[in-house]
C-alpha cells in the first residue's frame, strides 16, 4: 500500500478521535511522559496509551506526545493505534517512555465498497479490486473509464483513436454475456445503473471493481459483465478546504494510415493527376488545445459535512471543428441527527456537455482523397456544388476539408442525478436505510448539411447539395428511478462477527425521444427552424418518435461471517424480476457463496505477513437488450400499400417473432484466489483463477422461415464458457530513505469459447460481420463458431500473387477451386493476455510516475488496407501503402489473411513528473503541486493501422454511437478485431497542471 494512502487514513482516524470525549485522567502516583513515533521518527497523533488492566489511559497529541498519570511505577503501558502493531512496555518506574510503533499492514484495513455495504479488505472473499484516485491514469482524461485503463487485472478498456466524444469499450474478463450490456454495471454512490460519465474524474475518491459472480450477484440481473462502484469525494469535519485543480493540454495526431503522397500517386500512374499536392491529413487535423478547471469546497461541523465541486472542461479534438465543452456541478451533503443515529445523505450531480462530434469518415476521406487534388477549385468540372471545394463523383468519397468545415454534427448532453438516502440505527448494529435516486439524461442532436455540401455518405446518408440543405434534429430522454430499502445488522458473538443486509429494490426505466429529418431550405441561415424546410410541405420530411420502458424488482440478502479475522464466509441471494421476459420467466434467482481463510493469522510463516486463500461461486444474470421481445407487437411497414382511390395506408404487421419463452441469461462463476503480503509487506499481491459458464445466452438468432415470420428471433441460444487467470503485484523496490520506488503491475489472460448453440435454432456459427461498402458488402470477415473461441476472424489464407498479379489463396479442400469452402480462421480479435505496469518514484518533493500498458496476441483486420491497399483502386481513390503494399496486383480487392495483422502492442499510456511545494503552517496555500504529464508517449507495435487497441465489438452505425439508446443490433460483441475506417488517429498529448489547496 502506498505510504500516502496510509497517511491519509491515519489523519482521518485522528480527526474522528478528536471528536470522541476521552475518559478521565487520574492525578495521583507518578506521571509518565513520552513520545510515540513511527519507524520514520514522526510523531503519531491519537495513539491510545492505556495502563494495562485498568481504564486509565490517554492519547497522544498532535505531535505524538503524551502524559499519563499512573498509580505507581510497576504497571505496563499498552500503546495501540490503527495501522500499527500494538506494543506493551513495562513502566519500570520510568517517567519518560518513548515508543516507536511498527506499522501493521494486517491491521491497516482498507475499506472496500461492495454491493449494499462496505467490508474491510481483509474480509473480502471474492474478487474485488479497489483503485484509489492516486492510482488513476493521469493526463487529460474526461472519460471516467479511462482512469482505470490497464489498472485492474481482467478489466479491459479500449478507446481506439483520439475522438474526444467517443466512448470506451469496457470488458470484464472477456466476453461474459451477449445480453443487454456487455459493459459492466455502474453504481455511483449507491445509484445503480448510473451513467459512468455522470461524475467528473476530479470528484472521484475511489473505484471498486467487482469482478467475480459472487461479489456481483447481489446486483443480480445486471452483474454479469461485472460491477464498477464509484465513490465520490465527501466532506470531513473540519475547517473549509478549497482546492483548485487545473491543467492545459496540447494534443497532436501521432499516427495516420499510411497512404501515397501526391508524388507517389503520380508515379503509380493509375489515377488522374489534378496537378496539386495536398496532404489531406494535415488539412483536417491540428494541435488541439484543451483546458480543465476544478474547484471544490469541502468541510463540515458536528453533524454536517459537505463536499461541493465545479468542473469545467474545454476539450478540443485533433480533427478540426471537433471537441466538447462540459460543465459539471456536484454537491454531497451529509447530515446526522438524533445522536448520530440518523444519517441523511443528499447527492446532486449535474452535467451539461456541448459536443462538436464532427465526422469520423473525414479521416477515411483524408486517406483516400486524391492527393493531387487541390482543397479548393474554381473549375466547374470539380466545383460540383458551387461551394468552391474540389469534389469528385466516386462512391463513399468527399473532400474531407469540406466535410469538416461545411457540415454540423452537434450534441447537447445533460445529465442530472439526484440521490437521497436516510439511514436510521434502530438499535445498536441494526440499521434501516431508505434510498431514492433519479437519473435523467437528455441528448439533443443537431446535424445540418448545407445546400452546397457534397458529402452524401454521412450519418444521415443524404447530401445537403441534393436536398437543398438537409437537417436532423433529435432529442432523446432517458430516465430511471430507483427506490431501495435495506435493513442491516452487525454484531459480535465472542470472536465471531456476524453482519447481514436484506433489502428490496425497485427500479423503473423510461426512454423516449423523437427525431425529424427534413430538407429543402430556401436558405441555410434558417435551417435551425425546421418549419422552413419545404420537405415538410411536400411530404418528404420524416419524423420518428418512441417511448419505451421496463421495470426491475428485487429482493436480496447477504450474510457475512468473520471468525476472528481468520475465517470468512459470505453468502448472498437476490431474487429479481423484470418486465422484459415472458410471463413464466420473469423471475430469476441469483445466489452466491464465498469463503476465505487467512493462514497468516494462525501460522507464523517467515517472510509472510499475510496469506489469505479464498474461493467463491455465484450466479449473475443479464437482461435482454430491449423491451417487449416476448410481446406480439405490431408495427407499420416502411412502405405503405395502395388502398384504392389514391389512398395509401400503412400496413400493420408483426415487427418480430415474439418469444414468450425468453428467459434470464445466467452466468455461473467459480473464482479461487489468494491475497498475500510478503517480505515485511514489501511485496503484495493478488492472484485469481476463474471458470465461468454463461448459459441461455440472449441473442438475435437465425430461425427457420417458415414457420417464423422473420429470419431472426431474440432467443436463449447457447453457452459461453470461459476461464482466466489474473495476477496483480506490487513491490516497494525502495521503501526506506528519501528516494522511494514502488512498482506495481497486473497481468490477465482469458479464453472465451462459444461452448454450445441450441441446434434447434441456430447455425454452427453466429455473429458474422461483413466488410461492407463500397464493393465488399457480402464479404463475411468474422464469425463465432460452436465449440471455438470467440473472436474468430474468417477468410481465405493468402499465399501470394501469381505472375499475372492475381491473388493466390490456399485451396483448403484441394478441389482445384477457391470458394467458400476454402475460408477458415485467419486470426483472433481478442488478446491472449493484457498487462499494466506502474512505477512510482518519489524523491523529496518530486514524484515521477509512469504507466505502461499492453495487449498481446490479438489480431486486427485492417479495413483500410482491405479496401484501399491495391494499385487498382487508384482510378478512384488514393492508395493505402503500408509495408504490405504490392504494386503488382491486378486483381480487385478480395478479402483474405493478407489484411489481418498481428496487433500486439505496448504503450506508454502516461508519465507524470510532479513537484509538491512545501509551505509553512500559516501560509495562504496549504498545498501546491505542479506537474507535467505526457500521454501515449510511445507505442510499440507491428500493426500498420493507426491504433492497435483491441476492438471489442464491431459498431458500424455512426448515428447510434452517440445515442443514449443505441440499437442492440448496431454493436456486435461477437465480432471483435475489426478496425473500421471510422477510427480516428492515434494521438499524443502533453499536459501541464497545477493542484492548489487552501
Amino acid at each position: 500500500m502506498p505510504n500516502s494512502l496510509l497517511l491519509r487514513w491515519k489523519y482521518s482516524i485522528l480527526l474522528l478521535l478528536f471528536c470522541i470525549p476521552l475518559t478521565g485522567v487520574y492525578a495521583q502516583g507518578i506521571t509518565v511522559k513520552g513520545k510515540v513515533s513511527d519507524d520514520q521518527g514522526q510523531g503519531i497523533p491519537g495513539v491510545n496509551v492505556l495502563l494495562k488492566g485498568t481504564t486509565t489511559g490517554t492519547s497522544t497529541d498532535g505531535n505524538g506526545d503524551y502524559t499519563l498519570a499512573v498509580p505507581n511505577g510497576s504497571g505496563t503501558l499498552a500503546y495501540s493505534f490503527i495501522g500499527f502493531v500494538n506494543q506493551e512496555v513495562p513502566i519500570n518506574n520510568r517517567t519518560t517512555i518513548d515508543v516507536t510503533l511498527a506499522s501493521d499492514v494486517k491491521a491497516l484495513e482498507e475499506v472496500v465498497v461492495v454491493g449494499y455495504g462496505t467490508q474491510k479488505k481483509g474480509e473480502i472473499t471474492s474478487a474485488v479490486t479497489k483503485i484509489d484516485a492516486e492510482q488513476f491514469n493521469k493526463g487529460n482524461i474526461a472519460d471516467v473509464s479511462r482512469l482505470l485503463q490497464g489498472k485492474v487485472a481482467g478489466l479491459s478498456i479500449a478507446r481506439p483513436g483520439g475522438d474526444p466524444n467517443s466512448r470506451s469499450a469496457i470488458r470484464l474478463r472477456g466476453l461474459s454475456t451477449l445480453g443487454a450490456n456487455t459493459q459492466p454495471l455502474v453504481v455511483i454512490d449507491g445509484q445503480i445503473g448510473a451513467d459512468l460519465n455522470t461524475v467528473d474524474p476530479n470528484d472521484i475518491k475511489s473505484i471498486d471493481v467487482l469482478k467475480d459472480a459472487a461479489s456481483a450477484a447481489i446486483y443480480g440481473t445486471r452483474g454479469s459483465a461485472g460491477v464498477i462502484i464509484i465513490t465520490t469525494n465527501s466532506g470531513e469535519v473540519g475547517p473549509p478546504q478549497f482546492t483548485y485543480n487545473g491543467f492545459l493540454t496540447a494534443e497532436d495526431p501521432a499516427k495516420f494510415t499510411p497512404n501515397m503522397t501526391a508524388d507517389e500517386y503520380r508515379a503509380l500512374g493509375k489515377g488522374t493527376d489534378y496537378g496539386a499536392s495536398t496532404n489531406w491529413y494535415d488539412e483536417i487535423s491540428r494541435t488541439a488545445l484543451s483546458h480543465t478547471h476544478n474547484v471544490s469546497l469541502s468541510g463540515g461541523s458536528v453533524g454536517t459535512t459537505y463536499n461541493a465541486s465545479l468542473n469545467y472542461r474545454d476539450f478540443q479534438g485533433v480533427a478540426i471543428n471537433t471537441g466538447f465543452e462540459q460543465l459539471n456541478g456536484r454537491l454531497n451533503l451529509v447530515q446526522k441527527a438524533f445522536k448520530d443515529k440518523l444519517v441523511v445523505n443528499l447527492n446532486l450531480n449535474m452535467t451539461k456537455r456541448t459536443g462538436q462530434l464532427g465526422f469520423p469518415e473525414a479521416f477515411k476521406y483524408a486517406a483516400i482523397f486524391n492527393p493531387t487534388a487541390p482543397v479548393r477549385t474554381t473549375d466547374p468540372l470539380y466545383d460540383l456544388t458551387g461551394s468552391g471545394y474540389f469534389e469528385s463523383n466516386f462512391v463513399d468519397y468527399a473532400n474531407p476539408v469540406a466535410v469538416m468545415e461545411q457540415n454540423t454534427n452537434d450534441q447537447d448532453l445533460k445529465r442530472l442525478n439526484i440521490t437521497g438516502s436516510a439511514e436510521y440505527e434502530i438499535v445498536r448494529g441494526l440499521k434501516f436505510l431508505v434510498r431514492y435516486a433519479q437519473q435523467h439524461v437528455s441528448n439533443y442532436r443537431w446535424s445540418y448539411f448545407p445546400r452546397n455540401s457534397f458529402h452524401s455518405r454521412n450519418l444521415l446518408g443524404v447530401s445537403g447539395f441534393a436536398r437543398g440543405g438537409f437537417a436532423y434534429k433529435a432529442d432523446e430522454e432517458s430516465f430511471n428511478q430507483l427506490y431501495e430499502n435495506t435493513l442491516s445488522y452487525s454484531t459480535n458473538i465472542s470472536a465471531l462477527n456476524i453482519s447481514g443486509v436484506a433489502g428490496y429494490s425497485y427500479q423503473d426505466f423510461q426512454n423516449k425521444g423523437f427525431s425529424i429529418r427534413a430538407g429543402n431550405f430556401l436558405t441555410d441561415v434558417s435551417a435551425e427552424d425546421l418549419g422552413t424546410a419545404q420537405d415538410l410541405r411536400e411530404g418528404r420530411a420524416t419524423a420518428d418518435s418512441y417511448k419505451n420502458g421496463s421495470r426491475l424488482v428485487a429482493f436480496f440478502g447477504r450474510l457475512n461471517l468473520n471468525y476472528n479475522d481468520i475465517a470468512f464466509l459470505t453468502a448472498s441471494l437476490r431474487r429479481e424480476g423484470s418486465t422484459q421476459f415472458g410471463e413464466n420467466n420473469k423471475w430469476g434467482m441469483f445466489p452466491a457463496v464465498s469463503a476465505g481463510f487467512d493462514l497468516s493469522r494462525i501460522i507464523d510463516i517467515p517472510g509472510v505477513d499475510n496469506l489469505k486463500f479464498r474461493a467463491s461461486y455465484g450466479v449473475t444474470g443479464a437482461l435482454p437488450p430491449m423491451s417487449y421481445l416476448s410481446l406480439p407487437t405490431l408495427s407499420p411497414s416502411t412502405s405503405s400499400f395502395y388502398a384504392g382511390n389514391n389512398r395509401y395506408l400503412p400496413s400493420y404487421g408483426p415487427d418480430k417473432n415474439p418469444n414468450p419463452d425468453l428467459k434470464w441469461e445466467k452466468k455461473a462463476e467459480f473464482d479461487a484466489g489468494v491475497d498475500f503480503a510478503l517480505l515485511d509487506n514489501r511485496l503484495t499481491g493478488t492472484a485469481d483463477y476463474y471458470v465461468r459458464n454463461t448459459s441461455d445466452l440472449i441473442f438475435n438468432g437465425t430461425v427457420p422461415v417458415p414457420p417464423n415470420l422473420v429470419s431472426t428471433t431474440w432467443l436463449n441460444i447457447g453457452e459461453l464458457k470461459s476461464s482466466g487467470f489474473e495476477l496483480a503485484l506490487g513491490y516497494d523496490v525502495l521503501r526506506d530513505g528519501p528516494f522511494t520506488w514502488n512498482s506495481a503491475g497486473n497481468f490477465s489472460t482469458y479464453s472465451v469459447t462459444l461452448a454450445s448453440l441450441d441446434p434447434r435454432y441456430a447455425a454452427p456459427y453466429v455473429g458474422a460481420t461483413n466488410l461492407g461498402t463500397p464493393g465488399q458488402e457480402a464479404t463475411q470477415i468474422t464469425r463465432a463458431v460452436r465449440g471455438e473461441k470467440i473472436g474468430m476472424l474468417w477468410g481465405f489464407i493468402y499465399e501470394g500473387v501469381d505472375e499475372g498479379g492475381k491473388y493466390k489463396f490456399r485451396d483448403l479442400n484441394s478441389d482445384g477451386k477457391i470458394d467458400d469452402n476454402d475460408r477458415t480462421q485467419i486470426g483472433n480479435g481478442l488478446p491472449k493476455f493484457e498487462f499494466g505496469w506502474t512505477n512510482t518514484f518519489k524523491y523529496k518533493n518530486f514524484d515521477l510516475n509512469f504507466f505502461i500498458r499492453g495487449s498481446l496476441g490479438h489480431d486486427i483486420i485492417n479495413t483500410y488496407r482491405a479496401f484501399y491497399e491495391n494499385p487498382n483502386v487508384a482510378s478512384s481513390y488514393n492508395v493505402v501503402n503500408s509495408r504490405y503494399f504490392n504494386p503488382a496486383i491486378t486483381d480487385g480487392q478480395i478479402f483474405s489473411s493478407l489484411f489481418v495483422e498481428k496487433a500486439s502492442f505496448v504503450k506508454m499510456d502516461n508519465a507524470t513528473l510532479g513537484y509538491n511545494f512545501s509551505f509553512p503552517k500559516n501560509a495562504a496555500f496549504k498545498t501546491l503541486r505542479v506537474y507535467v504529464t505526457g500521454q501515449n508517449l510511445f507505442l510499440i507495435t507491428d500493426y500498420t493501422g493507426v491504433d492497435p487497441e483491441v476492438r471489442y465489438s464491431d459498431n458500424t452505425n455512426q448515428l447510434s454511437q452517440n445515442s443514449l439508446n443505441p440499437s442492440p443490433t448496431d454493436s456486435n460483441a461477437l465480432a471483435p478485431g475489426v478496425d473500421r475506417r471510422e477510427t480516428w488517429v492515434f494521438t499524443r498529448s502533453y499536459t501541464l497542471g497545477v493542484n492548489l489547496g487552501f
Binding site: K270, G271, Y382, L384, N393, V395, V427, L430, V434, A466, R467, N485, L487, Q510, K512, R540, S545, N548, G549, S550, R551, G577, T579, Q580, S627, L631, P632, T633, L634, S637, T638, S639, F641, Y642, A643, G644, Y648, L649, S651, Y652, G653, D655, P704, V705, P706, P707, V710, S711, N770, P774, G775, Q776, E777, A778, F867, Y868, N872, V873, S875, G892
Partner: protein
C-alpha cells in the same frame, strides 16, 4: 437490550410494503400496439391485409432480391465490378456466372421475402377465418390467391420448398416436392377463383390487388412452365387461362409501349397486376439508384446519389439495333464500340428500355464525370456505352447501357413513383402465342406469328417477321419484356439458361436451374434438405 418500538416496525413495514412486484410488460408499453389491441375496426383489418401487399414494395425494380434473381442470372442484365464498387464479395459476379452459393444474399433475401409474404398471408388468414363475414370471405380468397403467387415464385426459383399454410404451426417444416408445391398452387388458385373480383385494370377496388385475372395470369405462368416444374406440359390449360384474360375484353395493348412505364402509368390497359409505387408513400422502386451514374444526380436533379450498378448486356442491346435480328426502320443509334459511337441501326421504339450515349443537361451541355476512368475513351463527358470492357474488376464507370425502361423523371429521390406491372397484357398475349406454338409444334402457327407481329408493330414500330423460329420468338419476347423479371424463367423454359453468353460461360451442371436454399435456413431447420448440387 433496548426493545424496538412498534411504531418503528410499522414505519419500516410500510416502506417495505411500498414494494411493487407487478411485472406486466403491457403496463410499460407506450408506443406500439399488440395483437390484443389491434384489429378493432375495418380500417385496422385492411391495414393488416395490406401487410401481405406492402411486402412487395421494394421487391421489384430494386437490387434487393427477387428482381436481380430473375435478371442478373439472365442474358439481359449485368452488375459489373467497377473498381472498388459492386464487388460485394463477388456475389453479383456469381449471379452472372451461375456460381451462386447458399450463403449469397440474393438467394437468401429472396427466400426471406417470399416466405414473409406466405407467413403474412397465413397470419392474416388465421385472423380472418373465425370472422365468417362476407367481407372476410372475399379477403380470404384474395389472400389465398396471393399466397399461391408467393408460392409460384418459390416453386419457380427453389422448387422443393416447404409448404407452410398454418400460422399457428411452430414446428419447422420439411421440404415438399416440386410436384406437391405445383399441385398446391394450382388447387388454391382454382378453388379461390370464383370468389375473386372480375375487375378491370383501372378499377380502384382492386388496383394493386389480386383479382380474378391476376389469378388467371399466375395459372397461365404455372401451366406454361409446367413442363419445367413437373415434366408434364399443360399447353391447353395455359391457353385457357390466357383466354380468360384476353376474352374478358378488359385489357388491350397500349398504343405507346412507353406509356406502360412512365411516371403516371396508373391504369394502363395492359396492367393485370401492378405494384402502385409512390416515391414518398410506397417506396422501394429504386431503379434510378441501381442503374444510374453518380453524375446523373446533377443531370436529373435527383435528391440522392445513384450507385452506378445495373447495366444491360451488350448483345441484348444489340438485339434491338441489329437489322438482321430486328428488321425495321434504320436510323442513328449508339454503337457497340468502346466509345459508343453513333452508327446506323434499327430504331425500335422499345430502345427506350435503355439509356445510352452522351448524357446532357436540359440545356444541352454535357454531364461531366471528373472521375472518368483514364482508359475510358469518352473521358469526362459522360457517355453510357453498350460496350462493357470487362465483368470485373475494373469495368469502366461509364460503361454499360442503363435501364431506362421506367421513366426516370427529373427530381426523383432515388425511388420512382411509376407503378410496376408484375403481369402485363403483352406478356399474356405472348404466353398464349407461345403455348399455341408449343402445342402445335409450329412456331409459325398463324396465331403465334400474328401476335409477334402485332406487338412488333404496335410497340416496336418495326417490321413484321414473315416467319419465326423458337429463337426469334424468344428474342422478341426479350425485346418486349426486358427487365420485367421473367428472363430467367424464359431462358429455362427455352432450354437456354445453361448456354454460354457474354460474361457467362456454359454451365457445367444444370443444378443451377434451381436456386440453393439459403444456408441459414438449412442450418436453422434441420429437416430442410438442400437442393441437389449445392
Amino acid at each position: 437490550m433496548k426493545r424496538i418500538s412498534l411504531t418503528k416496525i410499522f414505519t419500516i413495514g410500510l416502506l417495505m410494503m411500498a414494494a411493487c412486484t407487478d411485472l406486466d410488460e403491457e403496463d410499460v408499453l407506450y408506443d406500439t400496439v399488440t395483437t390484443k389491441t389491434f384489429y378493432k375496426n375495418d380500417q385496422e383489418l385492411l391495414s393488416a391485409i395490406g401487410g401481405a401487399y406492402s411486402n412487395l414494395y421494394g421487391a421489384f425494380g430494386s437490387s434487393s432480391h427477387i428482381w436481380p434473381a430473375y435478371e442478373v442470372t439472365s442474358d439481359e442484365i449485368v452488375v459489373p465490378t467497377r473498381g472498388a464498387d459492386w464487388g460485394d464479395g463477388g456475389h453479383w459476379v456469381r449471379l452472372k456466372l451461375h456460381t451462386y452459393t447458399p450463403q449469397d444474399p440474393v438467394p437468401t433475401n429472396t427466400w426471406n421475402f417470399l416466405y414473409r409474404g406466405v407467413n403474412t398471408c397465413n397470419r392474416v388468414l388465421a385472423t380472418l377465418e373465425p370472422l365468417g363475414t362476407d367481407v372476410s370471405k372475399a379477403y380470404i380468397a384474395e389472400l389465398k390467391a396471393l399466397r399461391a403467387i408467393y408460392y409460384y415464385w418459390l416453386l419457380d426459383l427453389y422448387g422443393n420448398v416447404p409448404l407452410s399454410v398454418d400460422a399457428t404451426a411452430t414446428e419447422a417444416p420439411t421440404n415438399s416436392t416440386r410436384q406437391e408445391v405445383y399441385n398446391f398452387i394450382e388447387k388454391e388458385l382454382l378453388d379461390n377463383l370464383p370468389a375473386l373480383q372480375k375487375t378491370g385494370p383501372a378499377d380502384e377496388a382492386t388496383y394493386g390487388r389480386v383479382n380474378y385475372y391476376t389469378a388467371q395470369a399466375v395459372l397461365a405462368k404455372l401451366y406454361l412452365n409446367a413442363q419445367v416444374y413437373t415434366g408434364t406440359p399443360q399447353w391447353a390449360e395455359a391457353i385457357a387461362a390466357c383466354d380468360e384474360i384476353i376474352n374478358s375484353g378488359k385489357y388491350a395493348l397500349m398504343a405507346n409501349y412507353r406509356d406502360n412505364f412512365k411516371r403516371d402509368n396508373k391504369g394502363s390497359t395492359e396492367f393485370i397486376w401492378a405494384i402502385p409505387y409512390d416515391e414518398i408513400q410506397a417506396t422501394g422502386f429504386t431503379m434510378p439508384h441501381i442503374t444510374l451514374h453518380m453524375a446523373s444526380q446533377a443531370q436529373l436533379n435527383m435528391t440522392a446519389q445513384p450507385w452506378n450498378g445495373f447495366a444491360t448486356v451488350q448483345e441484348f442491346y444489340q438485339s434491338y439495333i441489329d437489322p438482321v435480328q430486328n428488321p425495321g426502320p434504320q436510323g442513328s443509334v449508339i454503337g457497340l464500340d468502346p466509345a459508343g459511337t453513333p452508327t446506323t441501326g434499327t430504331v425500335d421504339e422499345r430502345l427506350s428500355n435503355f439509356i445510352v450515349g452522351p448524357q446532357t443537361f436540359p440545356d444541352g451541355s454535357p454531364v461531366l464525370d471528373g472521375g472518368a476512368d483514364p482508359a475510358d475513351p469518352n473521358g469526362p463527358p459522360m457517355t453510357f456505352t453498350p460496350y462493357i470492357n470487362e465483368l470485373q474488376p475494373n469495368a469502366w464507370r461509364q460503361s454499360g447501357a442503363r435501364i431506362g425502361k421506367w421513366e426516370i423523371y427529373r427530381g426523383n429521390n432515388g425511388n420512382l413513383s411509376n407503378d410496376y406491372a408484375i403481369f402485363r397484357y403483352a406478356d399474356i398475349l405472348l404466353m398464349r402465342a407461345e403455348a399455341v406454338a408449343r402445342q402445335s409444334g409450329n412456331w409459325n402457327d398463324a396465331y403465334t406469328l400474328a401476335i409477334v407481329n402485332q406487338i412488333r408493330a404496335e410497340h416496336g414500330g418495326v417490321e413484321p417477321f414473315p416467319a419465326i423460329t423458337e429463337d426469334i420468338f424468344l428474342a422478341e419476347r426479350g425485346r418486349e419484356m426486358f427487365a420485367e423479371a421473367f428472363r430467367r424463367q424464359d431462358l429455362l423454359r427455352f432450354g437456354r439458361y445453361n448456354n454460354a453468353w457474354r460474361f457467362h460461360p456454359a454451365d457445367p451442371s444444370p443444378h443451377v436451374n434451381l436456386f440453393p436454399i439459403p444456408e441459414n435456413q438449412i442450418n436453422a431447420n434441420q429437416k430442410l434438405k438442400q437442393n441437389p448440387g449445392y
